[in-house]
Symmetry: C2
Subunit: 207 residues, 2 copies
Amino acid sequence: VTTSIAMLLFPRLTQLDLTGPFEVFSRFPSTAISLVAATREPVHSEGGLSLIPTATFSDAPQCDLLFVPGGKGVDAAMLDDMILECIRRQAAGAKWITSVCTGSLLLGAAGLLRGYRATTHWTAIDFLAQFGAVPVRERVVRDRNRITGAGVTAGIDLALAIATELHGSEIAARIEAQIEYGVKPLPERPSNNGRREAVAKAAARLR
Amino acid sequence: VTTSIAMLLFPRLTQLDLTGPFEVFSRFPSTAISLVAATREPVHSEGGLSLIPTATFSDAPQCDLLFVPGGKGVDAAMLDDMILECIRRQAAGAKWITSVCTGSLLLGAAGLLRGYRATTHWTAIDFLAQFGAVPVRERVVRDRNRITGAGVTAGIDLALAIATELHGSEIAARIEAQIEYGVKPLPERPSNNGRREAVAKAAARLR
């Protein structure tokens, strides 16, 4: 494993803020992803989907890339010293510090966006300046080693930008085609021979 | 609750096929979502994220809308009678039968796409005809009460199309803005007063 990614979990996060980028990160070569929370109990997202942590604030390995999602739970998380300390500690050793949606408010509350250009969900853009950040209304904003994404689905764009940064544009384009994102034309003649036998069997049973 | 949505879980599904639409469905008014699997044990997705079922094949309530995701696990699922029976039973009482990505192969294997126009992940489009479906290369395809989406992220488009169908274009557009999807311009002056106090407190602690 060459890259360790830590994705923060907290109650009432917006699950798609995290699951979108997770889908992209999980297709990176030589990468381990930790879902880091206060405990190993399932964490309930805003919409009701539960996510299972794989590490806790105290036992999570030092990451190379820190990822912070947003959601209604950010309001409480911004005032939670356990969460802020975990973010600061991981950020101190990380090469990349990233967030999507209102996750950037949480990075801001941890003091990590002072003097950085950053973005967030469009409904929260006015709050960034209070943390000393320079608000930018773009889908993905990079300033030195901080990369922030706008609301929810912009996390997919953020993760693809990270793919390009870490693994180059060829791998990023391959993942983009795998998840059928964006508007680029796809190959006309698909081939997926690995699946051919299972389809033939299933179709034969149907007749 | 006026709408019951059943989302199928099986080992090695592509989690974003399901979590994208879940994010949209969870914002529907008066809707209950069940994650239906063989047992209540966590189901491991292709990329490693685990999802926790909320119902089993035997105790899931009859749904109004059936949703089937895709993924590498589809190959085994197409030959699994427990899964096919659950799909057929739920489909028989459902008003809407939907899938994203290679989930449509699973609907096909259950005999539910004979004579229907349908789509799937671009790498699998050639397989649809074996189940008697008429393959269409579009992001979302509706034919009577079958609505199928193309690969992975097309599930978000599928779910927004379902939002329009079930709740009208105003609610669909509101959800689309909430998750910052698509290219429509967003309001210039956001207001999010519910969050203002938490931000002020967090910023004050930082000084």
